[in-house]
C-alpha cells in the first residue's frame, strides 16, 4: 500500500523564508552570545589570548565573593523597592488622571510619561544636581523653607544614598505604569462604576474593590516591565553615584562590567552573568506565582 507523501504546504515554506532573517538575527545576536557566555563562564580568560578551561572554578569563587553578594543585594533592593513604589505611584497617578478633563488629562499624561523617555544616564545626572550637598536643589529648597537641619549629603550618607537612587528610579519608571493602568481604567465599562455608586460604594471602595481587580493584567504587565527593567539598573547608578560612596551602591551589572573590562576577568564576569540569568528567571517565576489567580472579565 502506498503511503501518501505529506507535502509541505507552500504557504509554510514562504512563511519560513520570511521568518529566516529574523531567526538569523536572533541566533547571531541572542543565542550565540548566550552560548558563548555559558562557555566562557567555565574558563579563565583575560580577553587577550586563549581561554583556559577551569570548570566550575569561577562559580566557586563567586559564592565566596562578598562584593558579588553586595552587588546582588543592591540590585535586588533597587529593583524590588523602586519597582513596587513605581507601580503604586503609577496606579495612583492613573486613577487621579481619570478626574481630569480630556485635554488636561492628555497633557498631564504626556508630561508624566516624559521621564520614561529620558535616558537613564541623563536621569542620574539630573538627580545628581538635585542631591548634591553644597549646591544641590533639594538642600537649597530645604534651607529656604527653614528646614536646613534636614539638609544632608544625600549621595554620600549611608542612610540616604540608596533611597536617593530609588527616588531617581521611581521618577523615571512610574510613567509606564501610569499609561498602562490608565488604558486599563478606560476599558472598564461605565455601567459597572454606576452600579457600584447606586449600591452605595464610595470613590475609594470603587477604586480598590472594582477598578484595581479589573486591571490586574495591566498591573502584572507593568510590574513585570518595571521589575525586569530595575534588575538591569546600571546607567542611573553610574551617573548618580558611580557605585559610591565607598562602593556602597555598586550593582551587579556594574560589577560584571568592572570584572570583565577593568580587571580583565572575562571568565569570572561570564559566570556572574550566568548566575544573574538564573536569578532573573527565578524572579519571573515568582512574579507569575504572585499574580496567579483568575482575571476578571467584563
Amino acid at each position: 500500500m502506498h503511503r501518501k507523501k505529506r507535502r509541505i504546504p507552500k504557504s509554510m515554506v514562504i512563511g519560513c523564508a520570511f521568518l529566516l532573517p529574523s531567526i538569523l538575527l536572533y541566533v547571531i545576536f541572542m543565542v550565540y552570545p548566550l552560548l558563548r557566555t555559558f562557555y566562557l563562564s567555565l574558563t579563565s580568560w583575560t580577553g587577550f589570548g586563549d581561554a583556559a578551561y577551569i570548570g566550575f572554578g569561577n562559580f566557586t569563587v563567586m559564592l565566596q565573593d562578598t562584593m558579588f553578594r553586595k552587588a546582588l543585594m543592591n540590585t535586588l533592593y533597587f529593583a524590588v523597592v523602586s519597582g513596587i513604589l513605581s507601580v503604586l505611584v503609577g496606579i495612583m497617578m492613573a486613577w487621579l488622571n481619570l478626574f481630569l478633563r480630556r485635554m488636561e488629562g492628555q497633557v498631564t499624561r504626556t508630561i508624566l510619561f516624559v521621564p520614561n523617555m529620558i535616558a537613564p544616564t541623563i536621569t542620574g545626572l539630573l538627580f545628581m544636581f538635585i542631591f548634591t550637598e553644597d549646591i544641590g536643589l533639594l538642600n537649597n529648597i530645604l534651607k529656604a523653607v527653614g528646614l536646613q537641619n534636614l539638609a544632608t549629603a544625600w549621595l554620600v550618607n549611608s542612610g540616604t544614598v540608596k533611597q536617593s537612587v530609588v527616588a531617581a528610579q521611581i521618577w523615571r519608571q512610574f510613567g509606564l505604569t501610569l499609561i498602562l493602568c490608565f488604558a486599563g481604567f478606560q476599558g472598564i465599562p461605565a455601567g459597572l462604576i454606576e452600579s457600584a455608586k447606586i449600591d452605595g460604594a464610595g470613590t475609594w471602595k470603587i477604586f480598590t474593590r472594582i477598578m484595581l481587580p479589573l486591571i490586574k493584567p495591566q498591573i502584572e504587565l507593568a510590574s513585570m516591565f518595571t521589575l525586569l527593567g530595575g534588575l538591569k539598573i546600571y546607567d542611573s547608578v553610574v551617573s548618580l553615584t558611580g557605585g559610591g560612596p565607598a562602593r556602597q551602591t555598586v550593582v551587579l551589572p556594574m560589577y560584571i562590567i568592572e570584572n570583565a573590562f577593568t580587571y580583565s576577568k572575562f571568565g569570572y564576569a561570564s559566570a556572574m552573568c550566568v548566575a544573574f540569568i538564573f536569578i532573573v528567571l527565578l524572579f519571573i517565576i515568582l512574579m507569575r506565582f504572585v499574580f496567579r489567580g483568575e482575571n476578571y472579565e467584563y
Binding site: V156, G242, A246, Y263
Partner: protein, 468 residues
C-alpha cells in the same frame, strides 16, 4: 499579490543590508590584511594569523629604514580624562603637519573608566593608536601582553634623554620598554598663599601643625582642605609613605605597593595605615574637609572650585592640576609635601609618570603613527609646551624657559630624594587600584567599614593578587 511583492522586496532589502554590513567588515579586514602583507613582504616574511601580528608589526616598524616607505594611519589616543593637554594637541599638530593624511581623535573617558575604555578597545581588536595611562600602573596592560616593546622603535637618543626614574616603571623584566613617559606628576598639597599670609601660617611639617591651621580656619567658616575623593583617595593615602618607611623600615612603602608586605590589622604596616586613617577621620569628623559630609565623594571639579573660590585653604591634589588651578585662582599658590606625624619623619611622595604605549595588536600604520607621535612628544618644542602648561617634563637634556615660580618649586621638590616612583599601591592590581582610589578612606569615614575591616579588605585584595 501586491502585499506578497512588498514583503519579498522588504525581506530582500533586509538581507542585503545585513550581508552588506558583513561584507564591509570583511572588506576592511581584507584591506588591513592586504596592507599588512605589503608591509611584511618588504621584509620578506610570510603573513599568518593575528597572533603573529605583533612580531610582524615590530619587524615592519623596525626594519623599514626609509620614512617615505612608511604608511601612517589614524591617530587615536585613548586615556585622556577630559580635554587633552595643550602639549598633546601640539604634538598631534606636529604629526599632522608632517603627515597631513593623519586624522586625530581623542575618545573620552574619566578617571574611573580609563583602564576599562582602553582595555576594551584592545581586547575587542580595535585598539587605539596610543594608550595614555599612569606609568606605575601600565603593568596592568603589559602583564596581559597588551603593550608593544618600543625600545627598537623609538630614536635611541630620545630614549637616553628620558628621566630614568620616570622610565623605570615602564620597563619589563627583561629590559623591554613598554611605555614612554612624556611628563610626570606627583601628589602634593597646594595651598592658598594669600590666606596663609593673612593668618600668619607657616608651611606645616607635622599633622598637628596642619590640624591647627584647619582649626583656626574653621572658626572663620573656611574649610581646611578639599580633595578629589570620588576617585583619587590615593592622594590622601600618600600620607602613609614616609610613616611606613620610618616606623616599620626603609622600603616598606614600596613593599606594600608591591603586595609583598602584609597590611592586615595588627601588623606593623597595618598599624601605620590605621593611624593615618584615624588622623584623616579626625579631620573629617571635625568638619575640616570640604564640603563636610560630601567630602567623601567630592569630585575633582568641586574640589578645584572650592580651592579657587577660597572656600578651603589647602587642596590635596596631583601636581599636574597646577595647569588647571593657576588660571582659576586669583591668589598665589604655594606647595608643600604632605606633613608627617612627627617632625623627625621625612615626608615621601609617589611620582606618577604619564606615559604613552602602543597596543601590541596595533596595525603597522598605527605603529608608525604612534612612534611619530611619541617622538614628537619628546621633542624640545613639545617638552617646552609641557613646562608652559605648568607640568614636569620627562626629558632631562633640554633647557627650559618661562618656568613659573611654583613650577620651579615643584620641580625642585621632585628632584630631591623624597619623590619615588612605585610607592602607590594602586599599581598592585586593578582591584587594588579601585579599592585605594575609592574606598580606603570613604569606607571607614562613612561608617561602611571599621578601620580593621578596611585593612582586612586591603589584605584580601593583596593576597588575591599573590594567589594568581
Amino acid at each position: 499579490m501586491k502585499k506578497k511583492s512588498m514583503a519579498v522586496i522588504l525581506t530582500a532589502a533586509l538581507i542585503l543590508s545585513f550581508t552588506g554590513c558583513g561584507n564591509k567588515g570583511t572588506a576592511e579586514s581584507g584591506t588591513t590584511a592586504a596592507s599588512q602583507e605589503e608591509e611584511v613582504s618588504e621584509t620578506g616574511k610570510e603573513e599568518t594569523d593575528t597572533k603573529d601580528d605583533t612580531a610582524e608589526a615590530e619587524s615592519a616598524g623596525g626594519e623599514t629604514e626609509s620614512g617615505e616607505d612608511k604608511v601612517y594611519g589614524k591617530l587615536t589616543i585613548s586615556g585622556f580624562t577630559g580635554n587633552p593637554d595643550q602639549y598633546a594637541v601640539d604634538a598631534a599638530a606636529m604629526v599632522t603637519d608632517a603627515h597631513p593624511e593623519v586624522e586625530v581623535e581623542y575618545p573620552p573617558c574619566d578617571t574611573n573608566t580609563r583602564e576599562q575604555v582602553i582595555k576594551t578597545a584592545i581586547s575587542a581588536g580595535d585598539p587605539p593608536t596610543l594608550g595614555y595611562y599612569w606609568g606605575t600602573r601600565v603593568n596592568s596592560f603589559y602583564d596581559n601582553g597588551m603593550c608593544l616593546d618600543l625600545q627598537d622603535l623609538i630614536d635611541p637618543e630620545l630614549l637616553a634623554g628620558i628621566n630614568e626614574q620616570m622610565l623605570a616603571p615602564c620597563k619589563g623584566e627583561n629590559g623591554e620598554i613598554y611605555a614612554i613617559p612624556v611628563k610626570c606628576v606627583y601628589h602634593t598639597c597646594y595651598y592658598n598663599k594669600d590666606l596663609f599670609d593673612k593668618y600668619g601660617f607657616e608651611e606645616p611639617q607635622t599633622w598637628d601643625e596642619l590640624e591647627e591651621i584647619f582649626k583656626t580656619l574653621k572658626a572663620d567658616d573656611i574649610f581646611g582642605f578639599s580633595t578629589n575623593s570620588a576617585s583619587m583617595q590615593d592622594c590622601l593615602y600618600g600620607m602613609t609613605y614616609g610613616e611606613l618607611d620610618a616606623k616599620v623600615g626603609p622600603g616598606t612603602a614600596y613593599g606594600v605597593a608591591n603586595g609583598d608586605v602584609s597590611v592586615a590589622p595588627g601588623t606593623d604596616a597595618g598599624n601605620v595605615i590605621a593611624e593615618c586613617i584615624e588622623e584623616v577621620k579626625g579631620w573629617y569628623d571635625a568638619g575640616y574637609w570640604y564640603p563636610g559630609d560630601g567630602g567623601i565623594n567630592c569630585t575633582p571639579d568641586d574640589a578645584n572650585a572650592a580651592f579657587a573660590q577660597g572656600r578651603c585653604a589647602v587642596i590635596f591634589n596631583f601636581s599636574g592640576s597646577l595647569g588647571t588651578l593657576v588660571p582659576m585662582c586669583d591668589f598665589e599658590i604655594g606647595t608643600f609635601l604632605k606633613p608627617t606625624s612627627e617632625a623627625s619623619i621625612e615626608s615621601k611622595e609617589n611620582t606618577e609618570p604619564d606615559v604613552f604605549f602602543i597596543p601590541s595588536n596595533a596595525t603597522p600604520e598605527q605603529i608608525n603613527t604612534g612612534v611619530a607621535y611619541i617622538e614628537a612628544a619628546l621633542s624640545q618644542e613639545i617638552q617646552q609646551s609641557v613646562v608652559s602648561g605648568n607640568q614636569i617634563p620627562s626629558m632631562t637634556i633640554y633647557e627650559y624657559t618661562d618656568m613659573t615660580p611654583v613650577l620651579e618649586e615643584v620641580i625642585d621638590i621632585f628632584n630631591n630624594s623624597q619623590i619615588e616612583a612605585g610607592l602607590n599601591p594602586t599599581r598592585t592590581s586593578s582591584e587594588m587600584q579601585t579599592f585605594i582610589k575609592q574606598q580606603i578612606f570613604a569606607a571607614p569615614l562613612g561608617g561602611q567599614m571599621t578601620i580593621d575591616q578596611t585593612l582586612e579588605e586591603m589584605e584580601r585584595i593583596r593576597l588575591a593578587v599573590g594567589g594568581q
